[in-house]
């Protein structure tokens, strides 16, 4: 695993350098703290220079994350983190671009971008803070809340099915799909490291507790205090589990791996699979752009000499 090797080497950037001094204004006990800390630790492990990172977030409690990680940060609009991140990456393909946001942000208002970004496969990472509610607007049901559930903040139980983000991501074409749990920071750090290391768009859904509004998916519930065992099942614990497509040209292998991932994603209720669901190496959008414009292999767009173009030939064509 890359981070173990990295962990051994002396570090140029301290963990502190990935943290801002801004007051973190989440509620006490919010699962977001675990995700924030995991992101900071992952970046630290990877030793990516903070000024080579762009954290791009949506709007919601989760969206505030961009203020707390000391990198270039754009705290954008509700549901638009992915397109902004896409533009950022296109402008500078040497940045590590990490988009983050809530489940309402990503699967509700941002669903169109969630779907379409999967197809594009730019080399970036998308992390969704999945708490089953709209935190910042006071606890309405989010798209992941299953039908029939009613959190304490809801007047009545939801009458819509919850979305299955992993299944949708498979259909959308994400090339790396994982899920973590906010309160298992150690595994989460490892998943984030893998997601960032992946070439292509990596998508990581993270189960996150919202102690204020979601009284169903609590720390205790995930821990399975009522059933006497954790509800979290680690995919990697299954020795037969191998989410990596070894031959990206083999349609058969792809379909088989996707089907298995889909199956695992439907383990809900008392078995919540976390880990890497699917992974494949395919040419990224960046790579393909660079094929059309080879200069992009050496320099990011922002550094190319774009301001002395000779447009005379274009006029000549019209003469």
């Amino acid at each position: 695993m890359p981070e173990t090797a990295a962990a051994a080497a002396p570090k140029k950037f301290s963990l502190q350098q990935y943290k801002t001094e801004v007051h973190v204004d989440w509620c006490p006990g919010c699962g977001d703290f675990g995700i924030l800390s995991s992101i900071q630790q992952a970046l630290f492990q990877l030793q990516i220079p903070p000024y080579k990172i762009a954290m791009i977030s949506g709007i919601g409690c989760s969206g505030k994350t961009a203020h707390y990680v000391d990198t270039y940060g754009l705290h954008t609009l509700h549901g638009r983190a992915l397109p902004v991140a896409t533009g950022a990456k296109l402008a500078n393909n040497q940045l590590t671009v990490v988009a983050v946001g809530g489940d309402g942000d990503g699967y509700g208002i941002g669903a169109g971008y969630f779907l379409n970004s999967g197809r594009r496969n730019l080399d970036m990472t998308y992390i969704v803070f999945n708490n089953g509610v709209y935190g910042l607007t006071k606890g309405q049901a989010s798209p992941t809340l299953a039908k029939g559930l009613k959190t304490k903040s809801m007047p009545e139980a939801s009458i819509q099915e919850g979305i299955n983000p992993i299944a949708v991501a498979l259909g959308a074409g994400y090339t790396w799909i994982g899920r973590g749990y906010a309160l298992d920071v150690k595994s989460l750090v490892s998943l984030i490291v893998q997601a960032i290391n992946h070439k292509g768009t990596s998508f990581l859904d993270v189960f996150q507790t919202c102690p204020v509004y979601n009284d169903l998916r609590t720390k205790e519930w995930y821990a399975g205090e009522d059933i006497g065992r954790t509800r979290i099942r680690r995919l990697e614990a299954d020795p037969t589990w191998n989410p990596v497509v070894s031959d990206p040209l083999s349609i058969d292998e792809i379909v088989e791996k996707k089907t298995r991932a889909l199956h695992a994603s439907y383990e809900t209720g008392d078995n919540l699979a976390v880990g890497v669901f699917y992974s494949i190496e395919l040419p990224t959008y960046d790579d393909q752009l660079a094929t059309k414009m080879p200069a992009l292999k050496e320099h990011p767009l922002v550094d190319l000499p774009l301001y002395q173009r000779d447009v005379q030939p274009l006029f000549d064509e019209l003469a």
Binding site: D70, Y72, A85, A88, N92, G112, L314
Partner: protein, 623 residues
């Protein structure tokens, strides 16, 4: 009293079913005229349909400058029956058009397919010349010449070329110039096609000459060779596209939409050789947000769209403004509204929306060029403004400009210089001192280029402090609102008056016309005709809509004894802006909202009607 232009121009219309290749043919025709040293202006009308509905291309040419069309047609070339008589017979209530026969000027001519077997009486005109040409037979003849006899079904699209040849033959234009134009169009691998088409022109011209003795009154001749100027034929979308490349555009995002797509497709074709990335997005919300992301990273970014797409950009627009992104520049190609409206028709009805594109108070720039040159320079400068003032910019354009062809001298780019605005130089790599939204006197806070050490910043669509972090404090809020809005004053101060408005004609005149955007050409061309009525005329063309040059405009209008506003919309949107900004209410409005551009004579007649009948508001529509 006819003006020099109205006496010397030649108005030619090619009509036929959509998808039948009339565009290519008309453009070759326009090229042949341009190569003959004529000034050419050409515009097209078509339906929001892929195949079959009626479309037509009008080419107006003259040995002196021409920037507009007239209703009169001197030569009509009809590829089908509908181009002649419209579709009234088929449509129950309102026909979508009534054909072009009634627009043919007395003494004018109609070329049509003899195979349509139309009884001449059907035209109901005895003041025009009819030239039925057996398109198919002539084509057959031409194909024989190049050894392809019997294949005319296969090459049926070449009927259009036969029509061109007939036009040349009847109007007496120089065949060789047409051959040149054809060979220029079909180059390299297409050279064979060139010769087939040349042959079709030759055969048709010969046929026309030999079968018809009557020549139309108005004929067309190239200018003498020594007086010919080297002019290109350019459309608005090309001028904008080239200007953007010249300005250093790094990322163009778009979602297909008429009439904006042409510009993006052009950039898609030309971009790679210039390292310009063009991305077709999943929708316009993605388009603007990708462009904002790229702008924040330091790349010049733009997106092009039409009204429906712009409607989806509202939210992103405010985001760009509050985060002080250096752009994007949004190219808004107006079409007939509201809603989906008339996707392939023209209008100037998005001005007020472009001025108020989102909730809250924030700064942005809106500029509306009126012709090819202004499209070029405004498109170019808009990127400088975006960088200097760190705000989004709207360049307001029109379908009419996008798809019209103008013969144009080389564009003078010597005064157009890149200005990327203030870039912060960090004192140290930690960059602790850097504040992305530092409060400054002119409102501009130097920016950094992400990826550079010492430049780290944060920003957010929430109200924020100088470091870009959320705060709701009152003092900070006031300071931030002021600094953002101060940039608009800075822009107003720095943008030269020549980019803001132009007073065409004398400083003081009996009659002042007021307008914006691409009505410019028709108004300029109409001025001499209006002067013939005995009034001196000038024309205030407004280009910079925000920040609005209120004082200068107020001064001009307060001094004008009689004012007529001309707009290609229903509600006189510029009129509202002028009154809002200056308190001046213009005397008359001449409006057109049928989705078609003003012809020169619509301008003239509209103004005359307003003045003579003392009407506050005149609606014109000859289409």
């Amino acid at each position: 009293m006819p003006t020099e232009l109205s006496r010397r121009e030649f108005s030619w219309v090619l009509g036929g079913p959509q998808g039948g290749g009339i565009n290519a043919s008309a453009e070759i025709y326009a090229k042949a005229l341009t190569r003959g040293g004529l000034h050419v202006f050409a515009n097209i009308e078509f339906h929001s349909n892929i195949m079959g509905k009626h479309s037509y291309y009008r080419v107006t040419a003259a040995p002196i400058p021409v920037r507009s069309h007239v209703d009169d047609i001197h030569m009509l070339v009809a590829l089908d029956q509908e181009s002649l008589f419209g579709d009234a017979a088929e449509r129950k209530h309102y026909p979508s058009h009534t054909g072009h026969v009634h627009q043919v000027a007395p003494g004018g001519s109609i070329i049509y397919d003899a195979d349509l077997k139309i009884d001449p009486a059907q035209f109901g005109r005895d003041d025009i010349n009819l030239y039925p040409i057996p398109f198919f037979e002539v084509l057959e003849e031409a194909l024989k010449q190049v050894g392809k006899g019997g294949q005319s079904r296969k090459y049926i699209v070449m009927r259009n070329t036969v029509a061109l040849g007939a036009s040349i033959g009847i109007s007496g234009y120089d065949e060789e110039l047409m051959f040149e134009a054809i060979r220029n169009e079909f180059k390299g691998r297409k050279a064979e096609a060139a010769e087939m088409n040349v042959e079709a022109v030759r055969a048709a011209a010969a046929y026309a000459r030999s079968h018809f003795s009557v020549r139309p009154e108005r004929r067309l001749a190239p200018v003498p060779v020594e007086q010919r100027k080297n002019r290109m034929l350019i459309k608005g979308f090309q001028a904008v596209g080239i200007a953007k490349l010249r300005a250093g555009l790094g990322l163009q995002t778009y979602y297909p939409i008429s009439p904006a797509t042409d510009e993006s497709v052009y950039l898609e074709a030309k971009g790679p050789q210039y390292q310009c990335t063009v991305v077709q997005c999943e929708d316009e919300i993605a388009s603007i947000n990708m462009a904002i992301g790229a702008a924040h990273m330091g790349v010049r970014a733009a997106t092009s769209t039409a009204g429906p797409g712009f409607a989806l950009m509202s939210e992103g627009f405010g985001f760009a403004a509050i985060t002080e992104a250096p752009g994007p520049v949004v190219f808004l190609w107006q079409r007939g509204g509201p809603s989906t409206g008339l996707p392939t028709r023209t209008e100037q009805a998005d001005l007020q929306f472009a001025l108020h594109p989102a909730h809250g108070d924030f700064p942005h720039i809106v500029v509306a060029p009126g012709d090819i040159e202004e499209s070029f320079s405004d498109s170019f400068e808009s990127f400088n403004w975006a960088d200097r003032y760190q705000m989004p910019v709207v360049v307001l354009l029109e379908k009419f400009l996008a798809s019209s062809l103008f013969s144009s001298e080389p564009i003078d780019m010597s005064k157009l210089k890149i200005d990327r605005g203030q870039i912060y130089q960090p004192a140290d790599a930690d960059g602790d001192g850097y504040r992305r939204h530092a409060i400054t006197a002119d409102g501009v806070s130097p920016r950094t280029l992400p990826g550079m050490p010492g430049g780290i910043f944060s920003t957010t669509s929430d109200e924020h402090d100088p470091e870009g972090h959320i705060t709701e404090g009152v003092e900070n809020r006031i300071a931030m609102m002021r600094k953002r809005m101060a940039k608009l004053q800075t822009a107003a101060r720095e943008i030269p008056a020549t980019s803001k408005f132009t007073l065409h004609g004398p400083r003081q005149a009996d009659l002042t016309l007021v307008a914006w955007g691409a009505t410019k050409g028709a108004i300029l061309d109409a001025m001499s005709e209006l002067e013939a009525d005995g009034r001196s005329v000038n024309f205030l063309q407004i280009r910079l809509m925000r920040p609005f040059p209120s004082d200068a405009v107020a001064a001009i209008l307060r001094g004008a004894p009689l004012t007529v506003l001309i707009e290609n919309n229903y509600s006189a949107q510029l009129g509202a802006l002028i009154s809002e900004q200056t308190g001046v209410v213009l005397d008359h409005h001449v409006l057109k909202y049928d989705g078609r551009p003003f012809s020169r004579n619509e301008i003239v007649e509209g103004v005359r009607a307003a003045l003579s009948e003392q009407r506050k508001e005149v609606m014109v529509s000859h289409a």
